[in-house]
């Protein structure tokens, strides 16, 4: 399985979107999310906050950090947009940069759909964020193709 999960958390560590491509029960999910967020605060967020306090440029501060974290036997690839973190759990075999591009595509798609994407939008439209991945494989990489069924759906409502 290529992609195992897509999780979105905000700066406070609250989950805003969680999509799993393998069955995990509630406890497993909770444990997984907590673990990742913790891992994050260890190696990703902490220096970020520190740098902010240090009065350094915030914009590129985070980009000093590498976007891949080893987690259990897999990898987590993440990317930050404003106050949101997109985390994608993938197999070790998966191409990290490819997944980074995928996250970017996901965000761009949302951006186009919602106009100007923000936390709230995504929370309200859970079901629309899942047109791109199936069975853990990315099935669509064109924004237009992803959005057309969603737009149709909206019209139908």
């Amino acid at each position: 399985m290529g992609i195992r999960f897509v999780v979105m958390v905000n700066k406070q560590g609250q989950t805003h979107l969680a999509q799993y491509y393998e069955y995990l029960n509630l406890d497993e999910r909770r444990a997984l999310e907590a673990e990742i967020v913790r891992k994050f605060t260890d190696c990703g967020l902490a220096p970020w906050i520190w740098l902010m306090v240090g009065g350094l440029a915030v914009n590129n501060a985070f980009f000093w950090m590498c976007s891949f974290v080893e987690h259990r036997n897999n990898k987590v690839v993440y990317r930050r947009y404003a106050s949101l973190f997109f985390l994608v759990g993938v197999d070790n075999e998966e191409n990290e940069l490819g997944i980074l591009e995928f996250i970017h595509l996901l965000v761009e798609t949302m951006d186009r759909h919602f106009g100007n994407v923000c936390e709230l939008d995504i929370m309200f439209h859970l079901e629309k964020a899942q047109e791109m991945v199936m069975s853990g494989c990315v099935v669509e990489t064109s924004k237009a193709n992803i959005l057309s069924p969603i737009q149709l759906m909206e019209k139908a409502l």
């Binding site: 399985m1 290529g2 989950t15 805003h16 979107l17 969680a18 999509q19 491509y21 069955y23 029960n25 509630l26 999910r29 909770r30 190696c43 220096p47 980009f63 000093w64 950090m65 590498c66 976007s67 891949f68 974290v69 080893e70 075999e93 191409n95 990290e96 940069l97 490819g98 980074l100 591009e101 709230l120 929370m123 309200f124 859970l126 079901e127 899942q130 199936m134 069975s135 853990g136 494989c137 990315v138 099935v139 669509e140 990489t141 064109s142 193709n145 069924p149 149709l152 759906m153 139908a156 409502l157």
Partner: protein, 880 residues
């Protein structure tokens, strides 16, 4: 109009937006109250007959489930119910909740969905179909897969790419759950490899990427199709996946590697996308490492990555280098400065990766230099990374019996230094290595004793619990190799200093035991001295075994009766209180020492007075004890236990179910009568007679209990006459043969070195011998052969289909193939043009057609799975 409560519900129902907003407005800490209140409402609303109300309720529940971990297994049936709604939006909510919350193996109601899914799969509305497919892929179980295979099969050839790509993605799960589906669907999946639609292609390539992961061999026959995509496709995502597939296939078929190396290098050179470039690099370094020119290009690319500012690229560059290092070490050495620079990066991941690489570079020539750099790096780093570095150094240096360590004096001092680093948590490892080196490397012992003394003597170190283990090892070394020490008195004082009370009992026991050894040693020196002076008669048997004569004689000349008596008194006053300690180990060892002191007093004072005979007896005893200690302790092979023959009549695998009640009634006798191995030797030489009275009492008591126990449950004991022979069967600790081999190796190494420029003068010295045991200890792990899972069910079925396909192809269209061979050769010369493509497309279609027509006949599995591994899959002519 519906019934009133329902109307009320639908009118005043809170929408999902309301719930989310409400939740956000909640004061912190009260969310759970809000959630449970909402859940109560949902429980009420979801029973409504109005689909709008029901859908909203379900939607809210799904939200609470996936983001706030609310349980929704109870609502499974409502999802099923709502899924039969004709409105797409309700259906969507229902299927969404199903795919998020159903557990494929336990949710009962999944079977109720079968019919609805089938209906939607054949629906005219493509969005219904897509929805059903994605639901299927999320909740697929064997029953569902089996029942819906025909429907999915039909969709694989759907005219709408939107549906087709989803069907392909869903079929992966269907295959996983129901391998028989492969026989039905596989051909259509393969056909899609020729698709023009990029979405479909991406899905099908992704599917094969997943499948090849498990058992690549089965997919070799598809290599031509993949090759075509590799050459023709321009979509990066698809290319990445295809390259992944080739990375799995190329090692299986050498001709394939030769074929793909060129296009892959092309892609790497041409593409602007870093992801694709990295995939090419990874492919080359993992699967095409024998193509030197390609590897050179890949390494150049990696260097580009390392020089980038982007941490991601830097990280991946390092990771790539790690892979290359296994086959082409030069690549790492070439980029040495960059790697070392990365050690001081901000990012932990990059640092760790760089550290691994640095460790790859370690050899006997540079180990000292690298360790020095790393230690200075460790001192600058945060505690976590500091320990990471230390762990890596310790691991690398000890690898394969200290292979890279040439100068053990340096290494031993280095260990002492590392132990003192403030954040060091590698005490356990250092402890093991100190003892191990002591036992294995005779030439290192002098320095080892010196380092151990420095550790033991420093009262400040006792306050740091992290290094108690190291101190234990140091104490052991001081005691075991006391004859190499300059000043035994000082060591004794150090071992008994008041702050040792801070140690854990087990370490303290080692301290006391070491004091025991030191005392025995001093006593033997004293005896020798007195005999020398009084009778001037050489006593060769108390001569030191491997005695470092210089040290012994140097300590002898300030050895007087007075100083010895002082020493004995010192030990007695310090250990006296411990004879009543609560800790078993501590008490036992203290008592041993006190027993020895009683003996000593007999010798020292008794010989002057009346009790001459007792004194002589006692000195005999002391001699025995000293002899026991002066024997070298060698390393023990991990496999030593296995070599002990199992005595006849001992049944090891018998059911031990009744062990519980055996242990139940005799538990109290277990703890006090065991001691650590080293002590046993001494027990054997007869300490039991000379220990204090109460102890011998407990000993006899426990022996009688043991005897009773043996009588009752003789079954679980080794027979006593065997015990003697068994202990003789242990392998001699030091194998002379190995020593020779090692020396020969060293010589070879030396001659090698003489050819190289000599940087360090001390390398002219012969490396100390490291004792190794014959049958590779530590090789257990690598010896364990990894069980290769004999082709799983999916690939079995795939092979059946593909080889069947190939067989029909060769039999039925061999004529056509021959006729077209010429033209194909011509095409080859022209490169991979369109002609070739169209031609092979035609050919494949024909094969597939035939395959399909013939399929019903081949339903029975004539090609038994047993024959499969032996077959080498046929790879079509483009490789030849």
């Amino acid at each position: 109009m519906a019934v009133v409560p329902s109307l009320m519900d639908s009118l005043f129902q809170r929408s999902i937006d309301d719930v989310i907003k409400g939740l956000r407005l909640c004061p912190p800490g009260t969310e759970s109250i809000f959630i449970s209140k909402s859940l109560d409402e949902i429980r009420r609303e979801i029973k409504s007959t109005d689909p709008q109300t029901k859908a909203t309720a379900l939607h809210k529940l799904t939200y609470l489930h996936s983001l706030h971990s609310a349980d929704m297994s109870w609502a499974a049936f409502h999802s099923v119910e709502l899924s039969s709604s004709s409105a797409h939006s309700y259906k969507r909510v229902a299927f969404l909740s199903a795919s998020l919350s159903f557990n494929p193996s336990t949710t009962q109601v999944i079977l109720l969905l079968t019919h609805q899914l089938r209906k939607d799969l054949s629906s005219a509305n493509p969005h219904d179909v897509g929805l059903a497919l994605s639901t299927l892929s999320a909740i697929c179980n064997p029953d569902l897969a089996r029942d819906l295979t025909p429907d999915v099969f039909a969709l694989l050839a759907s005219g709408k790419p939107f549906v087709r790509k989803k069907a392909i993605a869903a079929v992966l799960r269907v295959f996983e759950q129901c391998p028989d589906a492969v026989r039905v669907c596989f051909k259509r999946v393969v056909e899609n490899l020729e698709s023009d639609d990029i979405g479909t292609l991406s899905a099908v390539v992704g599917l094969f990427c997943e499948l090849t992961e498990k058992e690549p061999r089965s997919y070799l026959p598809l290599a031509p199709e993949f090759y075509k995509i590799l050459v023709d496709c321009r979509n990066n995502w698809v290319l990445i996946k295809v390259i992944k597939i080739f990375a799995k296939l190329a090692p299986l078929e050498p001709r394939l590697g030769k074929r793909v190396v060129e296009p892959i290098c092309d892609h790497m050179a041409r593409t602007g996308a870093k992801s694709l470039a990295f995939e090419c690099v990874r492919m080359i370094v993992t699967s095409l490492s024998e193509y030197d020119s390609a590897v050179k290009l890949a390494v150049a690319k990696l260097r580009e990555f390392l020089l980038e500012d982007d941490p991601n690229l830097k990280y991946l560059g390092l990771q790539g280098l790690t892979i290359v290092s296994k086959t082409n070490m030069w690549a790492v050495l070439e980029n040495k400065e960059l790697v070392v620079k990365a050690l001081s990066d901000v990012d932990v991941n990059i640092k760790v990766e760089a550290l691994r690489l640095v460790m790859c570079m370690v050899s006997e020539d540079n180990v000292m230099e690298i360790s020095r750099i790393l230690i200075s790096q460790a001192l600058k780093s945060d505690p976590e990374f500091c320990n990471e570095i230390l762990g890596h150094i310790l691991l690398t240096c000890s690898r394969n019996f200290y292979e890279v360590v040439f100068d053990f004096d340096w290494y031993v001092s280095f260990l002492g230094e590392v132990a003192r680093i403030p954040h060091c948590q590698k005490g356990k490892e250092i402890e093991n290595q100190l003892v191990d080196i002591g036992m294995r490397v005779k030439d290192a012992r002098v320095q080892l004793v010196h380092i151990a003394r420095e550790l033991v003597i420093d009262p400040a170190l006792l306050g740091n619990p992290f290094i108690h283990g190291v101190l234990g090892a140091a104490a052991w070394v001081s005691g075991e190799y006391i004859e190499l020490s300059r000043n035994p008195f000082e060591i004794t004082e150090a071992l008994l200093q008041p702050r040792t009370s801070l140690l854990t009992p087990s370490v303290r026991a080692v301290y006391i035991q070491s004091a025991f050894k030191v005392l025995t040693f001093c006593l033997s020196l004293y005896l020798k001295l007195s005999v020398d002076t009084v009778a001037s008669q050489p006593l060769s048997d108390t001569e030191l075994d491997n005695g470092n004569v210089v040290v012994a004689s140097s300590s002898k000349h300030r050895f007087t009766k007075e100083s010895f008596v002082n020493l004995v008194n010192l030990v007695e006053t310090n250990l006296g209180p411990l004879a009543g300690s609560n800790e078993v180990e501590v008490r036992e060892r203290a008592n041993n020492v006190l027993g020895l002191i009683k003996l000593i007093k007999l010798i020292v004072f008794g010989s002057e007075g009346d009790n001459v005979k007792g004194g002589v007896e006692a000195s005999e005893m002391v001699k025995l004890i000293f002899d026991a200690f002066s024997e070298d302790l060698g390393p023990v092979s991990v496999n030593a236990q296995e070599r002990v023959p199992i005595p006849d009549g001992l049944v090891l695998k018998e059911n031990l179910g009744d062990l519980d009640d055996i242990c139940g009634d005799t538990e109290f006798s277990l703890p006090s009568s065991f001691s650590i191995v080293k002590l046993q030797k001494m027990d054997a030489t007869g300490t039991s007679d000379c220990t204090s009275k109460e102890e011998s009492e407990t000993l006899t008591e426990s022996t009688s209990l043991l005897a009773e126990h043996r009588k009752r449950h003789g079954l679980y004991y080794l027979s006593s006459e065997n015990a003697g022979t068994v202990s003789n069967d242990y392998p001699p600790a030091i194998e002379p043969k190995d020593k020779d081999a090692d020396e020969a190796e060293d010589l070879a190494r030396l001659t090698e070195e003489s050819l190289v420029i000599k940087k360090k003068p001390n390398q002219a010295r012969i490396r100390p011998v490291v004792v190794k045991l014959d049958d590779g200890e530590g090789f257990n792990v690598s010896a364990k052969k990894r069980e290769v899972k004999g082709g799983d069910l999916i690939s079995g079925a795939v092979q059946e289909v593909l080889l069947g396909n190939e067989a029909t192809a060769t039999s039925s269209s061999s004529r056509k193939r021959e006729s077209s061979k010429k033209s194909r050769e011509r095409n080859k010369q022209q490169g991979h043009g369109k002609e070739r493509k169209s031609q092979s497309t035609g050919k494949d279609k024909e094969h597939d057609g035939q395959g399909q027509r013939e399929k019903p006949k081949r339903k029975s599995r004539q090609r038994g799975d047993g024959a499969l591994p032996a077959q080498s899959p046929v790879i079509p002519d483009f490789l030849l």
